[in-house]
């Protein structure tokens, strides 16, 4: 696939929103891949966290927003603690989720009615609260 890069695509509106919400400078990323290497769930992601940063920066927005990466992210902060540039990658993932969830149409990533009684019994309430906050529009 070929992409056209210009002043409009690099650090476009979505990228700037992500930077604003997360408070992180995407240009600071080395692309060293430490975040992806250490991520306990990156095996299940379409794009590694470092790729998500790169795609967002270059303006490949539709691919980033369609990827499962921010939703697989468990916010365990492994990436944040190991980033050599001190980027809070978990915050970038949170910002990407926010960008998707705050669109006009509802884009819930879990369905409450589908939760089984067994799961409800076994799960602590705090997990539901943070889960709803993380996954619901």
């Amino acid at each position: 696939m070929k992409i056209e890069i210009s002043e409009k695509s690099v650090r476009n509106e979505i990228a700037r929103t992500v930077e604003w919400v997360s408070g992180q400078n995407l240009f600071a990323c080395y692309q060293c891949g430490n975040c992806t290497a250490g991520c306990p769930v990156s095996f299940a992601m379409d794009l590694g966290p470092h790729q998500v940063i790169r795609y967002t920066l270059l303006g490949l927005v539709s691919e980033v927003l369609a990827s499962n990466t921010p939703w697989i992210c468990a916010s365990c902060l492994q990436c944040t603690s190991r980033c050599p540039k001190g980027l809070d990658i978990a915050r970038i993932m949170e910002a990407l989720r926010t960008v998707v969830l705050r669109k006009k149409e509802r884009l819930d990533h879990i369905s409450i009615v589908d939760l089984t009684d067994d799961l409800i019994d076994r799960t602590p309430q705090i997990a539901f609260i943070s889960g709803f906050r993380k996954f619901l529009s």
């Binding site: 992409i3 210009s6 690099v10 650090r11 240009f27 600071a28 692309q31 920066l57």
Partner: protein, 576 residues
């Protein structure tokens, strides 16, 4: 010569079959080579190895000795010095190389041949006594930052120094730069004090607009013939008022401005030129080409213009020579995939320096050479013609990562709504403060780094289409750029190879860079005593390293003079 000996150093670096190999080679040597004494030692470079050598030399009454070991370039000088010291310079030495590992029989016979040659040389060499103390004057060839540093150091040391440059004034490449990494100091502000100091130094004699014609002699006594090109201006009369340059009607693309600006036929390189005396370019001067004009002659208030001036030859006697001839950039015309230099808005790094420079053709504004428009999207391509062993130069040019980051940064300062893209393969920022400089460019200036090479670029209407790749996203990238800056490879300056041929015993590598006597231990020494080099003529390097080499070369020259001064000093004999 009397008795000569051969010592084989059989250290563990030779490989597993040291003994067997020694046996084999010894047999051949005993059969084929004419010598008086043969021995082996497990490590001649050690203290007991040297003691062994000296004892043997005394007991066997040797007058010459050939040492064969795996590292002749680094071990040789040390052994030579030790033997000279202990024998008052009466014993000559040669150090030859042995192949590491298990050599083929052919390399063994090569070793035997080298040994024979060395023994012949020893027998033919004259007494090591020198003719007398060195002429305590030095010549520095090349008036760039390396040459100026060497000349100033030598001058401060009290030695008369002749500084030669083929251009009309000193300053070299640094004069073309705008600001320098990693501090963004103005290059002129760094350089001008140095050029002025050089020009006013009581011990430094400038010989600008001169080229080295012939070099004869050896360390301590070189005779150099310089060719002073015809300037068509009598510098004795000229006051440097600049009226001739102002009135000269001929404007052609300036070599100094890398073609992005126009220059007059009578010119100085900069308003701060040292010496501030103009020359006429005979290839562009209307009078010298077409026989009409003579405007400069009419306006000159002191009648300094002399169209009949001829080149002259000057002979200088010096004790040592420092060669600092600097670099050129790989010519754009030979890079086909990037337009062969035919696209006006595709320029090289030095041309962009001229655009950035406050004293440049645009007084520091970034304007495209084609239409003078301010470019909003500028693509920088690193490793152009570098790191490309197949087609261009295999080596890394060392400064491009840094100066490209600097270009992008300065561009962003001057065009805040513009965007700079940098195509890179790796970022090599190894100097002090360099990595921080690169990171600051990315984070704070928003320079967009794309990891990959550009396969081709071409004119598309008013823009230049850049076809590259970003291997980090594994996507092909297309950018419609307003301007493209190529960080082309650093190559030795034109004529460096011809100069090397004129210097006795000085060699160049396949790319034309001067070869040092030892990669690590003698980095500014040539193969010949008394000739040293500094700066980019030895290989690509930045200003800080260049200045360090300039000072290093100057200190070598001073050590040489000091050692020659006391002829009876045994140390002087083993000088390197």
């Amino acid at each position: 010569m009397g008795r000569v000996g051969v010592v084989f150093c059989l250290c563990e670096r030779l490989g597993d079959s040291v003994d067997k190999k020694a046996e084999g080679i010894q047999e051949t040597i005993e059969k084929e080579v004419d010598f008086n004494w043969l021995a082996t030692h497990p490590g001649v470079c050690t203290k007991w190895g040297i003691d062994f050598l000296i004892k043997a030399v005394r007991e066997q009454k040797l007058e010459g000795v050939v040492i064969a070991c795996v590292a002749p370039k680094s071990v040789g000088p040390t052994l030579k010095k030790a033997i000279v010291r202990e024998t008052n310079g009466t014993v000559l030495t040669r150090c030859i190389g042995l192949p590491v590992g298990n050599p083929e029989p052919s390399t063994q016979s090569e070793t035997v041949e080298t040994l024979k040659r060395s023994l012949d040389e020893l027998r033919n060499e004259k007494s090591p006594q020198r003719a007398g103390p060195s002429i305590e004057r030095a010549m520095v060839v090349g008036g760039g930052i390396a040459g100026m540093t060497a000349a100033i150091d030598l001058g401060n040391g009290g030695y008369e120094t002749i500084l030669v440059d083929r251009l009309p004034s000193i300053g070299g490449r640094m004069l073309q730069l705008s600001e320098t990494f990693p501090t963004l100091d103005c290059a002129q502000c760094t350089l001008t004090p140095k050029t002025v100091e050089t020009g006013q130094h009581p011990k430094i004699q400038l010989r600008t607009y001169c080229e080295v014609e012939k070099v004869e002699g050896k360390a301590g006594h070189f005779t150099v013939t310089l060719r002073r090109k015809a300037a068509y201006v009598d510098w004795e009369k000229c006051t440097g008022c600049g009226l001739c340059q102002e009135k000269c009607p001929q404007k052609t693309p300036s070599v100094f401005d890398r073609g992005v600006g126009l220059g007059k036929a009578i010119y100085t390189l900069s308003p701060q030129a040292v010496p501030n005396k103009p020359v006429i370019n005979p290839e562009t001067c209307r009078y010298l080409q077409e026989g009409k004009c003579r405007v400069c002659e009419k306006v000159c208030p002191v009648d300094a213009i002399d169209y009949e001036q001829k080149e002259t030859f000057i002979r200088e006697e010096v004790g040592a020579i420092v060669v600092a001839t600097g670099f050129d950039l790989y010519p754009l015309s030979q890079i086909g995939e990037y337009g062969s230099g035919s696209i006006p808005d595709v320029v090289d790094g030095l041309a962009f320096e001229r655009l950035l420079s406050a004293s440049g053709p645009t007084t520091g504004e970034i304007r495209r050479p084609s239409d003078g428009r301010v470019p909003k999207e500028v693509v920088f391509i690193q490793c152009t013609a570098s790191r490309d062993p197949d087609r261009y130069m295999p080596y890394c040019s060392r400064v491009c990562c840094m100066y490209t980051a600097k270009h992008a940064k300065l561009y962003k300062h001057k065009v805040p709504d513009g965007r700079a893209y940098v195509f890179y393969m790796d970022i090599r920022s190894t100097g002090k403060g360099y990595e921080e400089f690169i990171q600051q460019g990315m984070e704070e200036e928003g320079t967009c780094y794309l990891r990959g090479r550009v396969s081709r670029l071409f004119q598309d209407g008013e823009q230049i289409m850049v076809w590259g790749v970003d291997t980090l996203t594994a996507k092909r990238v297309e950018i419609a750029a307003d301007m493209v800056v190529l960080a082309t490879a650093i190559i030795p300056s034109e004529g460096a190879g011809i100069l090397a041929q004129k210097l006795p015993g000085v060699e160049t590598d396949v790319h034309g860079f001067f070869t040092e006597a030892h990669w690590k231990l003698y980095p500014v020494d040539t193969g010949t005593d008394g000739i040293y080099f500094a700066g980019c003529d030895q290989g690509a390097k930045d200003i800080a390293d260049t200045v360090a080499q300039g000072s290093a070369a100057a200190s070598k020259v001073q050590a040489l003079f000091a050692q020659y001064r006391n002829e009876t000093s045994p140390e002087a004999q083993g000088q390197r």
